[in-house]
Symmetry: C3
Subunit: 139 residues, 3 copies
Amino acid sequence: MHQAIHHLSIPTRGKGLIEITEAVRSWVSGQKVSTGLLTVFCRHTSASLLIQENADPDVRVDLSAFFEQIAPEKAGRYVHDAEGPDDMPAHIRTALTQVQLSIPIEAGQLVLGTWQGLYLFEHRSQPNRRDIVLHLIGA
Amino acid sequence: MHQAIHHLSIPTRGKGLIEITEAVRSWVSGQKVSTGLLTVFCRHTSASLLIQENADPDVRVDLSAFFEQIAPEKAGRYVHDAEGPDDMPAHIRTALTQVQLSIPIEAGQLVLGTWQGLYLFEHRSQPNRRDIVLHLIGA
Amino acid sequence: MHQAIHHLSIPTRGKGLIEITEAVRSWVSGQKVSTGLLTVFCRHTSASLLIQENADPDVRVDLSAFFEQIAPEKAGRYVHDAEGPDDMPAHIRTALTQVQLSIPIEAGQLVLGTWQGLYLFEHRSQPNRRDIVLHLIGA
């Protein structure tokens, strides 16, 4: 049984979904594991992970609009506002999505479906650098 | 240490929660693992996984109603509408729930609580066949 | 490769976020695993898990307020009301968050980010005792 850990450092440029499927796939394929489990972990509370459709980019537009609307940036709405009007909405959007995803590996490949892409979902307005940990166990 | 992978192909008949606890449990029990970790992965972006109450079926009625209301099918609401009015709401409902769940195994049994059932949550109106991957690691 | 399982029994005193980071960290550090994967599993359908900011307590106030508002306790709103007005909202809030989280271990430490705390999110009004399963695999 083999284990490996790797960090991805992903630069973001304000709110939005950044596809990281290829970066993850590329590291996994170098590990020469046939059957296993990959865990992706986002070390932040104002950015999260999402598996979503990788075809029509309009899906990402609608997803972003949905999360804007469900936890709006609005003066006076939140007690916690010391870090800017986008911070508390960012925490809520993170709570509604995930900071961790595990994906099985079969025949050396992540079992992502045809239309599934793996995204980092940045919820802050300012550019950031996000630290994503990849953990692999398998043989 | 033992690993195994299995696919469940689950037919759906429009929107709703389909219990898959027994199908999963039955495969796991055949693997003769005493301590381990089972990962369930749904290879779709318009269907998801949910652990929820398996007793009163009204809970599923209310859950479905909640997800209908929070991301409604409404003409003109979404940019992405080429795949039908139920497609973008399906992506949002998938984002709000999970496509992956991992459940520890203790003394040969999934540690699901008494009231926890494992469900496939179909978000599309049309019947589908959904591919669920089970990955087990343990000893 | 080493595996271990442990149960945490967490008393709750009505709705709210209870930090369990130290209880989890303390058990993990006793396992002497350098690289591995910890899975935290909540065996309930009206309490859930959340990784959130551990600094400003106002974040938890706003998170609780958000989940109160998105799935309100309101007479006549839900079909399932036999277990009290807070039960169905509790199921919905559980569905919107997680009952399972996996966290990689690197150099003997959980890879939680600086601002990430691990919380049990109690959604019922009455005090409860919640059973959390910890599963560790690593070497």
